[in-house]
C-alpha cells in the first residue's frame, strides 16, 4: 500500500494531538505574526450561523473550541494557548465581507472554522492574504487555493465514481432511483450518480428526476413511479427535509427500497427518524464515531466533546478536524512559526488524517487534483435508528477504491 508507506514517512502527523505540547517545553520563541502574542495564538472563522434552514452550521466553532481546550489543557503549543476570537456569521452570503473583517479587524493567525453553505466568495480574499485557513469543504471555491485546507480534497460534484455501483452490487440492488432538486449543485450531484452507473453497470437507473421543487416536500408521485419501476435503491442529492419526506412516502406506499444519503450523518436526526431509514446507507466524510474498536482520534474527540458539554455532530467534527490540521501545521512549522511556514508544512503532508479522523489527504496534489488515484470514504448503515459501520472489517473505517479500478476488484480498507 503506497499510502501506508507515505503515512509512515510523515512521522507524527497523525500522532495523538494531545501530546502537542511535548515538543516545546523550552522558552517561547519570539514570533511576529498576526494574532500571536507571548502566550496566545488567536484564530477566527466564518460560518453560516444564521441560515434559512435553521441548521447548526455554527457548531463548527464548538468543535474548534473543544480541540483548543484539549490542547490548552496540556499547556497549549509553543507555550501559547489557542483561542477563537469572534466567530463571524456569514448570514445571507456575506462571507466576503466577514472574511475581510476577520483579516483586518480580528488580528488572527489563522482562519479555523469556515462553513459557508452558499457561494464561498471570501475564499479569494483568504487566498490573497495567504493565511492558513481551515473549514468545511463544501463549495467549489475551495479548489486550487494552496492555503485553504478543507476536510477533504478538492470536490467534484458531477464526477463519476465506483463506490455507488460497487455498493449496489454488494447489497444486491438492481434498480436505482435518482432524485435531485432543480438546483445547480443538486443536479450536478445527480448527474454524477448517473454517470457512475453508466460506467459501471451493476444496476440500472430506473427512475431519474432533477426537477423537484425545493421547499415543497411532496414526493407521492415520484415514489409511486419508483415503485412502478421497481426501484430498490434510492440515491438523493437533497437536504434532510427531502430525504425524510421521501423515506416517509416510501414507507407509506410500501416501496421496498433503501436510501443512499450522501450527507445525513446526524445522530440527533436519525434518533427521531431512524424508523424510516432502516437499512439505508449514509456516507460519512470522516471516521464514523461508531467505529469499533474506537480509534484513538475519535475517542479523544468524543471525550473532549463530552467534557465541553457539546453534542457531537457533523459540524463540530469539521471544527475539530480543522483545529487538528492547524496544530499539525504549527508543529510542522516549528517554534519560529509563521503563517507561511504553517501552510508550507501542511502542503508537504501526503497523508493528513487530522488527528486520526480522516482517511488521509495528500496536500501535495489534492488542492487541485479532482481525480486522485485513490478515493476513500466511510459508510454507515442505519440499524435500529443507529449508525453501524458498513462494508468494512473491524477497526478499518474507510473503504478505498482506485479510480480506474473495475467494479469487480475488491476495495481496500484503511
Amino acid at each position: 500500500m503506497s499510502l501506508a508507506l507515505v503515512a509512515a514517512a510523515c512521522g507524527n502527523a497523525s500522532s495523538s494531538p494531545g501530546k502537542a505540547n511535548k515538543q516545546n517545553d523550552g522558552k517561547n520563541a519570539t514570533v511576529d505574526q498576526p494574532g500571536v502574542t507571548k502566550d496566545t495564538i488567536s484564530v477566527g472563522g466564518v460560518a453560516s450561523i444564521t441560515n434559512a434552514l435553521n441548521a447548526p452550521y455554527g457548531d463548527i466553532f464548538k468543535g474548534v473550541k473543544a480541540y483548543f481546550a484539549m490542547v490548552n489543557s496540556t499547556g497549549g503549543i509553543y507555550g501559547r494557548k489557542l483561542e477563537v476570537v469572534t466567530p463571524r456569521d456569514d448570514g445571507m452570503v456575506n462571507n466576503l465581507k466577514e472574511v475581510q473583517g476577520m483579516l483586518s479587524e480580528d488580528n488572527v493567525f489563522a482562519a479555523v472554522g469556515l462553513a459557508t453553505i452558499f457561494n464561498f466568495n471570501g475564499a479569494a480574499a483568504l487566498s490573497t492574504a495567504g493565511i492558513p485557513s481551515f473549514g468545511w469543504n463544501l463549495n467549489e471555491e475551495w479548489t486550487g487555493k494552496s492555503n485553504l485546507f478543507g476536510n477533504s480534497g478538492a470536490l467534484c460534484l458531477g464526477c463519476d465514481g465506483v463506490e455507488l455501483p460497487w455498493m449496489a452490487k454488494q447489497l444486491h440492488k438492481t434498480t436505482i432511483g435518482v432524485l435531485a432538486y432543480n438546483v445547480a449543485d443538486s443536479k450536478a450531484c445527480a448527474e454524477g450518480v448517473r454517470k457512475s452507473f453508466d460506467k459501471f453497470k451493476t444496476a440500472q437507473v430506473g427512475f431519474y428526476t432533477d426537477s423537484l421543487t425545493f421547499g415543497t416536500p411532496d414526493f407521492s408521485v415520484e415514489v409511486g413511479k419508483m415503485k412502478q419501476a421497481g426501484v430498490d435503491f434510492i440515491t438523493t442529492c437533497m437536504d434532510t427535509n427531502g430525504v425524510l419526506a421521501i423515506a416517509k412516502e416510501a414507507r407509506k406506499q410500501n416501496l421496498d427500497a433503501i436510501q443512499y444519503v450522501p450527507n445525513g450523518y446526524d445522530q440527533s436526526f436519525m434518533k427521531v427518524n431512524g424508523q424510516f431509514f432502516e437499512g439505508s446507507i449514509v456516507r460519512v466524510p470522516f471516521v464514523p464515531f461508531e467505529t469499533r474498536p474506537v480509534p484513538a482520534g475519535v475517542a479523544e474527540y468524543l471525550k473532549w466533546m463530552k467534557q465541553q458539554r457539546v453534542t457531537p455532530n457533523e459540524y463540530t467534527t469539521y471544527g475539530w478536524i480543522n483545529a487538528a490540521m492547524l496544530l499539525e501545521g504549527l508543529k510542522g512549522a516549528g517554534p519560529n512559526f509563521t503563517q507561511k511556514k504553517v501552510v508550507d508544512a501542511l502542503n508537504k503532508l501526503k497523508n493528513d488524517t487530522a488527528g486520526g479522523l480522516l482517511d488521509g489527504i495528500d496536500w501535495t496534489t489534492q488542492h487541485v487534483e479532482k481525480r486522485t488515484p485513490e478515493a476513500c470514504a466511510a459508510f454507515v448503515k442505519v440499524v435500529n435508528s443507529k449508525f453501524v459501520p458498513a462494508f468494512v472489517p473491524k477497526g478499518k473505517p474507510f473503504l478505498c477504491f482506485k479510480r480506474d479500478q473495475g467494479v469487480n476488484v475488491p476495495p481496500t480498507y484503511k
Binding site: 434552514l53 479569494a124 426537477s211 411532496d218 416517509k248 406506499q253
Partner: protein
C-alpha cells in the same frame, strides 16, 4: 385513467394545505383589506410553539393543540388587529401590504430567537395520534399527517359553512365580505367583525402551521413562506373574494402539481422548468388573464394603485437656515468619513462603506418606483440580479471591459423592467406587488439556476475595472457612480417625468384628464427603476468579484422594500440612509453583542409603521425634532410652518 385518478388523489393533501392558506388570505383581505403576507409567519409561530410544547416539553397532543391553535393563534390575530391593522382601515392597500410584509420579515426571526433557540428541531410531530399510521383506500394509502390535513380541511369547510350560514357574527362577516360599504351603512360594528375575522384567519394560520410542520424534517420559516407564496395563486383564483373558490383553487393547485409530476417526463427540461415554477407561474398568469380578478380590480377598486402621497418632506418644510445647517453638517461628516476611509480605515470598513454605497444605488431604484411612482415593486432585487448576471456574462462571453458593460447590464435590466411593467401595470396596487413577487420567485426557481444566467453551479466571476482593482479606488468609483445616479434621480424628479409621476400619485384620474398617459409614464418609471437596480446589482457583483444568485433572491426583494420604506422612501437622502443602514446596522448589532438577525426584526417592525408614516420613520422623527428645534430658533431663521390640510386631495370620484 387509473394513473390519472392516482395522481389526483396524491395531489389532494397538499391541495388541502394550499386551500387552507388561501381561505385565510381571502378572509382577512375581504374583511380588512389586508393582503396578509404574514400568514406564513403566523403559521410558523404556531408550528414552533406546538413543537416546543409537545416535543420538547412533552405536553399531550390535544392540550398543546388546543392551547396553540385554539387559544394562542386567535389571540395573536386579535393582537395584530388591535395593534396594527385596525388602525389601517383607511390606509391604502399598499400601506397595508407593506405592514404585513414587515411582519413577514420580523416575526419568524423573533420566534427563532425567542422560542426555538439554537437547538435542533428534528422530530417534528403532527396532531394526528400517529403521523405514520397508514390508511388504505383500495389502491391508495394515506398516512396520519395527510389524514390530519384532509380531516381538518373538511372540518374547516363544514364549520365555516355553518358559521357563515347561521351564526350572527358569521352573517355579519359575510355581509362585510360581500359589500363592506353597505355593512357600514347598516351599522354593523366593523371593529368587531374585523377582530373576529383576524382571529379566525389566525386560527387557520395556526392550523396550517401545525399541519404543515410534520411534512418537513425540521422547522424553518422559509418552508412556510415559500408555501404561502405558492398558495397566493389559489387566492387569486378566488379573486381574493370567494371562500369556496379559494378552497377549489387550493385543491386544483395541489392536483395540477401532482398531475405534472405524473405526466411530465421527470428528467426533461420542461419538467425542470414547469414543475417548480407552477404556483408562481399560475399566479402570474391568473393576475394577467383571470377575468374575474381583473374585473374585480377595475370595477371595485379603481384607485387601488393610488397611494396617498406623503407629507411634504422635512427638506421641503424646513427653513433655509436649517437646510443649510443640515447640508453643511452632512457634507462635513461625509467628507470626514470619506477621508478616514481613504486613509486610515481597514479593508473591512472600506468593504462595508462600499456595500453601503452600492446598496444605496440599488435603493435609489426604490426611490424611483415607490417614492416617486407610488408602486410597491417586490422584485427590485431580481432586477439587480438581472443587471449582475448580464454584466458578468457579457464580460465573460464577449470580453468587453467592465465599466461599459455595467451600463449594458443596466440596460438589460431596464428592458426586463419595461417588459414586465407592460402587463403588470394593467393591474396596479397590491396586484402589481403580488405580480412582481411572483416574477421574483419565478426568476429564482426558473432562470437563476440556469447556466447561461448565473453560471449554475459555477457562478460567473467579474473582474474589477482596470485602475479600480484596489478597494480604495473602487470605493471612490462607487461613490462617483452613486453621485451620478443621485443627480440623475433628482433631475428626473424635478423634470417632466417627476412632475407627471407626482401628478399621477396625487390623482390618477385628474392626471389623465389633462392628457398624461399613465401607462407610458409608469413603464418609463419601471424601466428607469429596473435600470438603476441593474446597475447597482452589476456593481455589487463587481465588488464581490462574482455574480451570486443568493445575493438576489426574492427575500432580498422583500427586505429591500421593508428597509427603504422604514427609513425614507421618497428621497435620495432616504435611499442613502437605507444603504448605510443595510451595511451598518449588522455591525452595530454585533457591537451591542446580539445576533445580526435582529436587523430583520428591527426593520420589519419599522415597516409596520409605514402606514402611519408613509414618509418613513426616520423622516417622521426628523420632522418631530425639526419642530422642536424650530421652536427654539429665533423667528427669522424658521422656515414656513406647514399649514393644516383643509382640502381633501385625490380620492374616489
Amino acid at each position: 385513467m387509473t394513473d390519472f385518478i392516482t395522481y389526483v388523489i396524491q395531489g389532494i393533501p397538499f391541495g388541502c394545505v394550499f386551500a387552507l392558506v388561501a381561505v385565510g388570505l381571502v378572509l382577512t383581505y375581504k374583511t380588512s383589506g389586508v393582503f396578509n403576507l404574514a400568514f406564513g409567519a403566523q403559521a410558523f409561530v404556531a408550528a414552533s410553539l406546538y413543537y416546543v410544547l409537545h416535543v420538547r416539553h412533552g405536553w399531550p397532543t390535544l392540550l398543546a393543540f388546543a392551547l396553540v391553535v385554539l387559544v394562542i393563534s386567535p389571540l395573536l390575530g386579535l393582537l395584530l388587529d388591535v395593534l396594527i391593522f385596525r388602525h389601517l382601515r383607511t390606509a391604502s392597500p399598499i400601506a397595508k401590504l407593506v405592514s404585513s410584509l414587515g411582519l413577514l420579515v420580523a416575526v419568524p426571526e423573533i420566534v427563532t430567537i425567542l422560542v426555538l433557540g439554537e437547538s435542533s428541531t428534528f422530530g417534528v410531530v403532527g396532531i394526528w395520534w400517529n403521523d405514520n399510521a397508514l390508511y388504505r383506500f383500495s389502491d391508495y394509502v394515506i398516512d396520519g399527517k395527510e389524514m390530519a390535513i384532509i380531516v381538518s380541511t373538511l372540518l374547516v369547510v363544514l364549520l365555516l359553512g355553518l358559521l357563515f350560514r347561521f351564526a350572527p357574527i358569521g352573517l355579519r362577516m359575510r355581509a362585510v365580505v360581500e359589500s363592506p360599504r353597505m355593512t357600514e351603512l347598516a351599522g354593523v360594528n366593523a371593529d368587531r367583525v374585523s377582530a373576529f375575522s383576524w382571529m379566525l384567519s389566525s386560527l387557520l394560520a395556526g392550523l396550517a402551521g401545525v399541519l404543515l410542520a410534520p411534512l418537513y424534517a425540521s422547522l424553518a420559516p422559509q418552508n412556510f413562506t415559500t408555501l404561502l407564496i405558492a398558495a397566493i395563486a389559489a387566492a387569486a383564483f378566488a379573486r381574493l373574494t370567494s371562500i369556496p373558490m379559494a378552497l377549489v383553487g387550493g385543491l386544483l393547485l395541489g392536483i395540477i402539481q401532482a398531475l405534472l409530476s405524473g405526466y411530465l417526463p421527470p428528467a426533461s427540461v420542461i419538467a425542470q422548468s414547469v414543475k417548480p415554477t407552477l404556483p408562481f407561474a399560475a399566479l402570474f398568469l391568473l393576475l394577467l388573464f383571470w377575468p374575474g380578478l381583473r374585473s374585480a380590480i377595475q370595477n371595485k377598486d379603481p384607485l387601488s394603485g393610488v397611494d396617498p402621497p406623503p407629507d411634504p418632506s422635512v427638506a421641503v418644510t424646513r427653513g433655509r437656515f436649517l437646510t443649510n445647517a443640515t447640508r453643511v453638517s452632512g457634507v462635513v461628516v461625509g467628507t470626514g468619513v470619506l477621508l478616514w476611509l481613504l486613509t486610515a480605515a481597514t479593508t473591512y470598513w472600506i468593504g462595508i462603506a462600499t456595500t453601503a454605497v452600492v446598496l444605496s444605488i440599488v435603493f435609489l431604484s426604490i426611490t424611483v418606483i415607490t417614492g416617486m411612482a407610488g408602486q410597491v415593486s417586490l422584485c427590485q432585487a431580481t432586477f439587480a440580479g438581472v443587471g449582475a448576471f448580464s454584466t458578468a456574462q457579457i464580460v465573460k462571453v464577449l470580453g468587453l471591459s467592465v465599466l461599459p458593460t455595467l451600463l449594458l447590464g443596466a440596460a438589460v435590466a431596464a428592458v426586463v423592467g419595461a417588459l414586465l411593467a407592460v402587463p403588470m401595470l394593467r393591474l396596479g396596487g397590491i396586484f402589481l406587488s403580488l405580480g412582481t413577487l411572483a416574477f421574483a420567485v419565478m426568476f429564482d426557481t426558473l432562470l437563476a439556476p440556469l447556466g447561461w444566467v448565473s453560471g449554475g453551479a459555477h457562478p460567473v466571476s467579474v473582474p474589477r475595472p482596470i485602475g479600480f482593482v484596489d478597494d480604495r479606488p473602487f470605493l471612490i468609483l462607487c461613490v462617483v457612480v452613486l453621485a451620478i445616479v443621485s443627480v440623475f434621480v433628482i433631475f428626473i424628479r424635478r423634470g417632466t417625468t417627476g412632475r407627471y409621476l407626482t401628478a399621477l400619485r396625487g390623482s390618477e384620474t385628474a392626471a389623465r384628464s389633462i392628457g398624461i398617459n399613465p401607462t407610458r409614464i409608469r413603464i418609463l418609471a419601471f424601466a428607469v427603476s429596473a435600470g438603476i437596480a441593474g446597475l447597482g446589482g452589476g456593481i455589487l457583483a463587481v465588488q464581490k468579484g462574482v455574480a451570486v444568485k443568493e445575493d438576489f433572491g426574492y427575500f432580498y426583494g422583500l427586505f429591500f422594500v421593508v428597509l427603504v420604506v422604514t427609513l425614507m422612501p421618497s428621497t435620495v437622502e432616504g435611499a442613502i440612509n437605507a444603504g448605510v443602514g443595510f451595511a451598518l446596522v449588522p455591525e452595530v448589532l454585533k457591537l451591542v453583542g446580539v445576533s445580526s438577525s435582529w436587523q430583520f426584526v428591527l426593520f420589519g417592525l419599522g415597516a409596520i409603521t409605514y402606514a402611519r408614516h408613509p414618509e418613513g420613520v426616520l423622516e417622521f422623527q426628523k420632522g418631530k425634532s425639526l419642530a422642536a428645534i424650530q421652536k427654539r430658533l429665533p423667528a427669522r431663521l424658521r422656515g414656513p410652518v406647514p399649514g393644516p390640510t383643509p382640502v381633501p386631495t385625490g380620492g374616489a370620484d
